[in-house]
Amino acid sequence: MPDLPSAMRRNGRRKDRDFRPDEYLCRRVPLELWDDGDVVIDIDAIELPDMSVIRSKYGHPEWARLESDECIDWGVIGFCVGDIPARLLHMGVFTWTFGPRHVPLEENYPHSEVWAYENGMHVNAKNRLDPHLHLRWREILLRRIKTIIRPYKPMEIRQEAPANA
């Protein structure tokens, strides 16, 4: 496993539930999911529920590559909190909402997740997500996703936390 910047560790810090709409959320994407010779992904790289991301308030995009040696060449995608499809109506009746949640880990303080809620209740089981809703949400988010780090692009690993942390 690559050496982790000390600023990435939790070190007793509390959860921070405050996300600004312009805060970026980043996620590593394995090499298998990048089209050959092109830098595009499709919805096969996006999932719910509880999609893991790194929040830019406390971490840099390249930190998403530090999960293991295998991930070090992977690409990183990102989207703003305000780009998350926040509300979808399902079958004209059920209201689903979506949003970021800070879920710090001991070795990854910026770790966060995008959660899904059915009528306000957190849904964390894949089989409770209707596939129609799941596909719609992923496709709408995909339209707003940007490539932050291309696969194989060497990046210096910043050791300090972002300035706004």
């Binding site: 999911l33 096969d44 996006i46 596909l135 339209r143």
Partner: protein, 128 residues
């Protein structure tokens, strides 16, 4: 079609089938998070669809394992695309998207007549 062109085409389709077989070798959490590798059921359904697609004039632009645990297949024309996802439990869903309006989703029964209907709808949608 020239013979050389035909051979390239045959090779390209063989590659797609081989790509599906290779997906079976993925390890759990292959996406660096919690994705399961595609099941043999999902790969089998994707192969059945691919076999029928081969007989049409449509070609997949992308065929990948999906982090939603299964196989994803995309057919594109310009900004329009049809995405078909073959899940590990054997179910199949598709959607039609022009990149702007609300995607239109549908469940597809994993049988030949439904696959052929989806291919027909895809051709119509992509050529509209």
């Amino acid at each position: 079609m020239q013979m050389a062109e035909q051979l390239v085409n045959v090779r390209a389709w063989q590659d797609l089938f081989e790509k599906l077989d290779a997906c079976l070798g993925l390890a759990p959490n292959w996406d660096g998070y919690s994705a399961l590798p595609p099941s043999s059921l999902a790969v089998g359904k994707a192969k059945e669809f691919l076999t029928l697609l081969r007989g049409s004039e449509l070609e997949p632009a992308r065929l990948k394992p999906s982090v939603a645990s299964g196989i994803g297949l995309t057919i594109r024309k310009g900004r329009r695309k049809v995405y078909v996802e073959f899940y590990n439990d054997g179910t199949v869903y598709a959607f039609f998207s022009d990149g702007e309006s609300e995607p239109e989703t549908r469940q597809v029964q994993a049988r030949q007549e439904d696959y052929l209907a989806l291919i027909g709808q895809s051709r119509e949608y992509l050529n509209a």
